[in-house]
Amino acid sequence: MATDRTANVTWNGDLMSGSGRIDTVTSGAFGSLDVDWKARSEDGQTKTSPEELIAAAHAACFSMALSNGLGQAGHAPEELKSSATVTFQPGEGITKIALQVTGKVPGMSDDDFRQAAETAKENCPVSKALASVPEISLDARLQS
């Protein structure tokens, strides 16, 4: 069964001096997030951006896929801490995504965990949607 998720954005003005807002989303989980070009293209910002939302989507999707793979291998995780860092080159696009995960998974070897993480990276739906990003890296380790 197909699942739809919608977001609504309002924008006023031109690109460089205008501003926008992610007003509402299907779930209501977040809303009224301001966006603008400065916040998207410069460091040290407190506003979100498309690239931060993509990072959030990718880290969330990857975590869920990895918990699925670990569970199927009989090692459901106690905890996974993941991050995604999206590198955006204005004028060029998204050039890299770096995934990082630390897992608390009883009874699993480092190699098996890395293998499961690699599989999750390859197969999660957001990874598939982002398959044309030139580089998607992965750093996976078990919490010692």
């Binding site: 609504n8 954005v9 926008g20 779930s27 993509i54 990072a55 990857f62 999206v86 949607a129």
Partner: protein, 153 residues
């Protein structure tokens, strides 16, 4: 222009069916957003999902891209509404895929004819990095209208 990096952190506990996670953006604009398998593929129950975050990313990306195109054409947008709907579906091999992202845009722009606007809307989607990416997995459609335009002509 220098490259920029944006990060987000996720904590997940438990198996996929009954576990849950929380999502935080490094800018602090959103933090601790809960999500789960159920909120992703069934009722949202007030929780977000990767696809909802992608819908937010796509709508914001397209809005900026279209604002840039319109300004470049000498007609900065006065007001622009963009809705992005991302569809996750089960495909033949049983896995889930992001199969579509549909953009609906409605703009208030002074002195622009519908044909020029359509052309700029198409260019804006092609110029939005996320539109280009998602075409690896699914289709991107753009349905753009000018405020005050009747019958779409």
């Amino acid at each position: 222009m220098p490259r920029v990096q944006r990060s987000a952190d996720v904590t997940w506990e438990g198996n996929v069916a009954r576990g849950s996670g929380a999502i935080t953006g490094a800018t602090g604009a959103f933090a601790g957003l809960p999500y789960s398998l159920a909120s992703r593929i069934e009722k949202t129950d007030g929780k977000t999902s990767p696809e909802e975050l992608l819908a937010g990313a796509h709508a914001a990306c397209f809005a900026m891209s279209l604002a840039g195109e319109l300004a470049g054409a000498g007609s900065p947008v006065e007001h622009l509404d963009v809705h992005a709907t991302v569809t996750l579906d089960q495909v033949e091999d049983g896995s889930h895929r992001i199969v579509a992202s549909e953009l609906l845009a409605r703009a208030r722009v002074k002195e622009m004819d519908a044909e020029t606007f359509q052309r700029l809307a198409t260019t804006a989607s092609q110029g939005c990095p996320f539109s280009k990416l998602i075409e690896a997995s699914g289709t991107v459609t753009v349905n753009a209208t000018l405020e005050g335009d009747t019958d779409g002509d």
